[in-house]
């Protein structure tokens, strides 16, 4: 005699402790096993692309801050590079070094957020979250020295960086670079060999390399599936061709690999920052130009390696002070398309873990 069962549909609603932002998933369970997933998003849509059509090129920098709010510097960088490509605006050397330093600092901060919340969902109470945020505070203090704000930085402008770093930035940066590897060792000691973490994340949510490439995944999601593809090396921009660093990859594409890739990327970022500090020369940080940038009519696409993947801007200009169309290729949105393949067949607890390891940021997904 078989027992009659039927699947149950639950709404992991927009307000939930473990969806990264306002994200709604309609999950259909058979017992505890997930059989169908329907993501619903758009709760954070603010019309960034439409607003961009009514703002001047410099004002859009403040809009791009708020896309992926945990990695504002790289958002700025992607946008500003596109405008420079469109308008053929040169960038001084020192500005490029400052941009790379800011991007790598932002990468560390963003990966700290991602790791902290990933382990919070695994159930460590808030211990690891507090450790990660304690380190992130140091990065945010450095940003406050650079540009007066911690999260929504608006640091970059078409033609360079907005303002040079103050005198007390460099000693603080040296202290940070010196102390950070010890803190990362701490984090790794707490997690990387922990049997419970391994049991919860090993072989969970495996993304095969073929599927990763077919679904245009990028960033740690792609590299966790052992595809060695990093825009900083594949299509080098700024001064990344003058610094030496490795691109870490995972071995099998499960959640644990994605987490390990982020930790190793943090270590590589520190080494990049150290090399930039050694190589930087005094000089101007901004190309002087008219206040209202007017690129010639045309279009351009350029992308950077944001902490979550390939962030690209496609700007169409009609020769005026505002773009005609500004399209944002956000990595979290594209990475999210493979959620169903990752999750189906696993249990509810795994759904949370897999979603945390893919690391989406709803500011980017919804724009």
């Amino acid at each position: 005699m078989t027992i009659q069962t039927e699947p149950i549909t639950i709404n992991l609603g927009p307000q939930h402790p473990s969806t990264h932002g306002v994200f709604r998933i309609r999950v259909t369970f058979d017992g505890e096993v997930v059989i169908d997933v329907e993501p619903v998003f758009g709760y954070l849509h603010r019309g960034t692309e439409k607003l961009a059509e009514e703002r001047t090129y410099t004002q859009i920098v403040t809009l791009t801050d708020r896309l992926d709010y945990t990695s504002s510097m790289t958002n700025n960088l992607a946008y500003v590079r596109t405008v420079e490509k469109l308008g053929s605006i040169p960038v001084p050397e020192r500005a490029m070094y400052m941009r790379v330093i800011a991007s790598e600092l932002q990468r560390i901060a963003s990966h700290l957020v991602s790791t902290g919340f990933f382990l919070q969902e695994l159930g460590v109470f808030v211990t690891l979250l507090m450790y990660c945020f304690r380190e992130r505070e140091r990065v945010l203090d450095l940003f406050e020295m650079l540009c007066g704000a911690r999260v929504t930085v608006s640091y970059m402008r078409p033609g360079g960086v907005f303002q040079d770093a103050p005198e007390d930035f460099w000693p603080a940066l040296d202290t940070f670079v010196r102390d950070m590897p010890g803190y990362i060792d701490d984090l790794e000691g707490l997690i990387s060999d922990n049997e419970i973490v391994l049991a919860r994340t090993r072989d969970i949510g495996v993304l095969t390399p073929e599927l990763a490439i077919d679904s245009s995944a990028s960033g740690p999601v792609l590299r966790g599936s052992s595809v060695q593809w990093d825009l900083r090396k594949a299509a080098s921009y700024e001064v990344y061709d003058r610094v030496a660093f490795d691109v870490p990859i995972g071995s099998s594409g499960d959640s644990y690999d994605r987490y390990i890739v982020r930790i190793q990327e943090m270590r590589q970022s520190i080494s990049i920052i150290q090399q930039c500090i050694d190589q930087i020369e005094p000089g101007p940080v901004r190309t002087e130009g008219p206040f209202f940038v007017r690129p010639p009519a045309g279009d351009a696409y350029s992308s950077v390696e944001a902490p979550r993947g390939e962030l690209g801007f496609y700007i169409v200009s009609d020769g005026g002070i505002s773009p005609y169309r500004c399209k944002i290729r956000s990595p979290s949105y594209i990475n999210l398309t493979s959620l169903k393949d990752l999750v189906v067949g696993w249990k509810l607890a795994d759904l949370v873990v897999i979603f945390g390891s893919v690391d989406v940021n709803m500011g980017e997904v919804d724009r």
Partner: protein, 223 residues
């Protein structure tokens, strides 16, 4: 394996508990409890003589009823939630209003306009900034050609009504003048710190005298 990884994790947590340097500097905003030792240190005498002079306060401190202000010190470049405006420098050109991405600055100058000649200032009637909507991006400060508008350095601007969040020209005139050094390299070269420094007058904040018409055209209307 065999639980060694878990034991390593436990060691990390214990290290963070015991080693004193790991405790992040916690600033208990707005005020924190202070004990008798801290009170004595702040007044610069040793504990015993402090106790003899102020016994009641020491007793209160032991019971945990004495508190002092505490907050995280901010960098001089911090973009605060208020604005420092020098009416002697402002010409009413409204570049800040044009440049604001949100359009929260409203400037109404002397509607007559007949008596204004080249090189004179407009008389300012209304200069409203709505910090309820402001995102403190600082583009207005970047735009000001006369260094009349600067970011402020405070952040305690909350009010009970949304209408009180609009800063009008009277409030701008009477606010304490502690400009942040953001995008003002001349202030940074002087080593000015708005949190601890004195208020600056209008002659001390400019990097140059008023820009010429040619410079203005160069900046704003060059194609």
């Amino acid at each position: 394996m065999y639980g060694f990884g878990m034991a390593k994790g436990m060691a990390v947590t214990m290290k963070n508990l015991l080693v004193p340097g790991r405790m992040f500097t916690v600033h208990q905003y707005p005020s924190r409890r202070i004990g008798p030792l801290g009170l004595a240190k702040r007044s610069g005498v040793n504990v015993v003589s402090f106790t003899i002079r102020n016994p009641v306060q020491v007793l209160k401190a032991i019971a945990g009823m004495v508190s002092v202000e505490d907050s995280d010190p901010r960098h001089p470049r911090f973009r605060g939630e208020e604005f420092t405006w020098y009416e002697e420098r402002c010409t009413g050109c409204a570049s800040c209003a044009k440049y604001c991405p949100l359009g929260i600055i409203r400037i109404v100058t002397d509607p007559n306009g007949q008596a204004v000649q080249e090189g004179q200032n407009y008389g300012i009637e209304v200069f409203d900034m709505d910090i309820g909507r402001c995102m403190f991006c600082g583009l207005c400060v970047e735009a000001c050609p006369y260094d009349a508008l600067h970011m402020g350095s405070g952040f305690e601007e909350s009010t009970y009504r949304r209408s009180e969040l609009v800063i009008d020209v009277e409030r701008l005139k009477s606010a304490p003048k502690r400009p942040s050094t953001w995008f003002r390299p001349q202030l940074e070269q002087k080593g000015y710190n708005p949190q601890t420094g004195v208020e600056l007058g209008w002659r001390e904040v400019g990097r140059h005298e008023q820009p010429t018409l040619a410079e203005q055209q160069d900046r704003w209307s060059k194609r």
